[in-house]
Amino acid sequence: MLSKSVIEDVLNAALETGGDFSEVFVEDRYTNNLSLQGGKVDSSMSGRDFGVGIRIFKGLQSVYAYTTDSSREGLLKAARNAAHAINGERIIQPQAFVNQLVVSEHPIPLNPREVEKIRKVNVMKKAYEIAKNYHSLIQQVTVRYMDEEQNVLIANSEGKFVEDRRVRSRIAIQSIAADGNRMQNGFYGPGAHSGFEFLENLNLEHYATESSRIAVAMLGADPCPSGKFPVIIDNEFGGVIFHEACGHGLEASAVAKNNSVFANRIGEKVASNLVTYIDDGTLQNEWGSINIDDEGEKVGKNVLIENGILKGYLIDKFNSRRMEMPSTGSGRRQNYRFAPTSRMTNTFIAPGASTREEIISNTENGIFARYMGGGQVNPTTGDYNFAVMEAYLVKNGKIDKPVRGATLIGNGPKTLHLVDMVGNNLAHGAGMCGASSGSLPVNVGQPTLRVSEMTVGGRKGEE
């Protein structure tokens, strides 16, 4: 993507003012984004991103510059602009490159760049038809499709020179059910670190039907009662709650500065014995998987919490300096415009022994959160909040009426201790996670599980 000699010169220029580490990240990314509404394709955009990020460390100081000007002069100017912040005398020269070859763990039989767009449209139309025809109350269905081929080159002053290609495909189905003045949404957005074969082999019937079924079910629902309840969170995308409630707090970006409730607590009990929490970027072709992270480190499987005991954090290169712990291959960034930091890949609660039926039948009066919407956390306090997309009351061990507009709020570290049943049906769901290094594809996952008490916010008031 760029010649070795130019990269070498840039790494060298970046160290002119006393930096002790320099890095170049080159990205050439091709994307297609299509949208279909009311059965018709209403937009189709194709683009090429091309840019270079240059990073310099000096001790615990980090400087970043990025540019779309990939000429030698443009890059040297960017490197010197960044180096300007360091303001000292040169201490090191970059080391000679050692080529590192990446063998992809994620086979891509059908690169979407080679696939005619009309084939993509056909898949979208099929999903549309299924979702639209599910029920007469389905008023509107939107199907979005995206694919990308991201080519990256990472080189640094320690001699690293490595290239990788990431190919991702995703389809997202949104259904709106309407009845008079009431409207409710359903959504499903499966994605993978895969080519177009992912969409051709996908069980569209399942995803499109579910999206519409959720919207229709919620249309007929009463407002959710508020108060404290045991909450059963279903498997797959339900894992978003632990992504927010504890995943972000285990990222070095929060831990390194003691801004996380989990800082300095390795070896301590931070969760119920039933909780084992893992981040695994190696899962084949999964949405959040990568071969190497955006600092060129091999991605791995990181056990964060094991049977309730805190085992580790997600650490990037820069924060590893402050924490004096090695990188866990967790340095990620949305694109060249972001300096990388510690981020999740595919993060999930490991399966337990209970069945979903057992969990429900053991719950007298609670809430069953079948599909979660999004949420957010304040990593400093651990306070989180989530929207529940599809929820039901649980009465006397049985699923009762649907309820809409439920929000779950609580405190991550406290919630972890309140997990009192964990199911055996682990599954993963695709999502986008936003943080300081941008918006990234991540999987969240879990089996069906129960939290003995959560605060549920809804419009109906306390019962």
Binding site: M45, G51, S62, G374, A387, T407, G461, E462
Partner: protein, 451 residues
């Protein structure tokens, strides 16, 4: 290759490919950002990026593509992809715009701001930080402490002879302070976009952020029930931002906004007026032409409770037989054309914030909302979002309250606004595109659940 050379080559090759009308939109941005942590530079970013968006009519249909590289290869890429895209899009056609009769003179670029050096910006942060730690011993650190400044330039060139260009710059500051008392940890923030560097008073900024954090300590639980709610300007602004897409004609035409067919009707209390003003000097989204090249102007969207107009681009306007309101919007050169407000705000009244508090016998003051991107549904208007704030009793702020959720419906809320403050501010909330402002608002009743 420079922009004009690139345009000439692209339009020439485009003609050979069979494109009839063509447009090239260009954006260039120079940015600087830095973060400070306990006296040390924690991050320092500089950047210079540009990109182009191409739109072209092929076989009577519009196709889109973009690139961040201005080279021969990209000309082929842009044309081939736009051609393929034009043939699969089935929507009614967009058109390349020949231009409005006249355009305002934009004054969104501050020369004095450009002259502010990086060391001066760093010094401001150092000063603020010094005051933060001096202010109170319960301050343990900052979780966000950043300054950013940007200069953007955009141009629109098309084969119908339109050639528009505009520059803008701004400086942003975001400070979030962490305080600790016993086991209780809280944070409080100060944020601002401005073109006036001199107006930033470090002592005042530090005080505001630390006070905001300290005031939340000693949080108590109160009964979960319906309360009269005072939404402070920033909380009101972020809620309004989330629901601002309801005014988009694109949304109403797609059946995604309940304001469909409501132009001319009352949708809010008669004291509520909403204005969209792209001419504001300090407006983050100020501009003289929209993403299609249509001249922009100040517009009243809701006047005394009545919906005066929806926001339109050319395509949505054509469908309804009206004129574009100059709200054609692309998030960047990477986006396709949609509709979004510019600087949209609820008109303030005369009452001070203190007077609003004093007028409440029992109620809840909300100072911050989170989870708006997931807990609010702009289609139905329903929201149930996490909130922080205070309990008001007999016209006085009595105590900070544990994490809450507030739940309601935005369309109902528009009819439940009882009073407005004079404290109009624009919110740093970007759930939906648009720079959105509001004064503090008293809402008759919302469901409040307390942890």
């Amino acid at each position: 290759m420079n922009l004009l050379e690139f345009k000439d080559l692209l339009f020439k090759a485009g003609q050979e490919h069979g494109f009839t009308d063509m447009e090239l939109a260009y954006e260039r941005e120079e940015k600087f950002g830095c973060e400070l942590y306990k006296g040390e530079i924690d991050s320092y970013d500089t950047s210079e990026v540009f990109g182009v968006a191409f739109r072209g009519v092929f076989n009577g249909k519009m196709g889109n593509s973009f690139s961040e590289k201005l080279d021969e290869e990209s000309i082929q890429f842009l044309l081939e992809n736009a051609k393929e895209n034009s043939q699969i899009v089935e929507e009614e056609n967009e058109e390349i715009f020949a231009g409005s009769e006249s355009y305002e003179e934009g004054t969104f670029y501050s020369e004095p701001l450009r002259e502010v050096s990086i060391p001066e910006k760093m010094n401001l942060l150092k000063e603020i930080e010094k005051y933060i730690y001096e202010y109170d011993e319960r301050v343990t650190g900052t979780d966000y402490f950043q300054l950013s400044s940007a200069e953007t330039e955009r141009a629109l060139l098309n084969s119908k002879g339109l050639s528009l260009q505009e520059k803008q710059n701004y400086l942003g500051l975001y400070v979030s302070v962490v305080v600790k008392q016993g086991d209780e940890i809280k944070n409080g923030a100060y944020s601002k976009f401005t073109k006036d560097f001199e107006s930033l008073n470090p002592q005042e900024i530090a005080k505001q952020a630390v006070e905001e954090a300290l005031s939340q300590l000693g949080a108590k639980s109160i009964d979960s029930k319906n309360y009269r709610v005072l939404l402070r300007h920033d909380a009101a602004g972020s809620l309004f931002n989330t629901f601002s897409p309801i005014f988009s004609a694109e949304r109403t035409q797609k059946g995604e906004s309940l304001l469909k067919d409501k132009v001319g009707e009352g949708i809010a209390v008669s004291t509520l007026t909403i204005v969209d003003d792209p001419t504001l000097k300090e407006g983050l989204l100020s501009r003289t032409f929209d993403s299609e090249g249509v001249a922009t102007s100040k517009r009243v969207v809701v006047e005394e409770g009545k919906l005066v107009t929806l926001l339109h681009n050319q395509k949505t306007a054509k469908k309804e037989g009206v004129q574009s309101t100059g709200h054609g919007y692309k998030a960047s050169y990477k986006g396709t054309l949609t509709v979004a407000p510019t600087n949209l705000f609820i008109q303030p009244s005369e009452k001070s914030f203190e007077e609003l508090v004093a007028s409440i016998e029992e109620g809840v003051l909300i100072t911050d909302l989170s989870g708006l991107h997931s807990g609010a549904n702009s289609v139905s208007g329903d929201f149930s979002v996490a909130a922080s704030g205070f309990y008001i009793k007999n016209g006085k702020i009595e105590t900070s309250v544990n994490q809450m959720t507030i739940a309601g419906n935005f369309f109902e809320l528009l009819n439940q606004v009882e009073d407005f403050g004079s404290d109009l501010e624009f919110a740093m909330s970007f759930v939906a595109p648009g720079y959105i402002g509001s004064p503090s608002l008293i809402i008759k009743e919302l469901a409040v659940t307390v942890e």
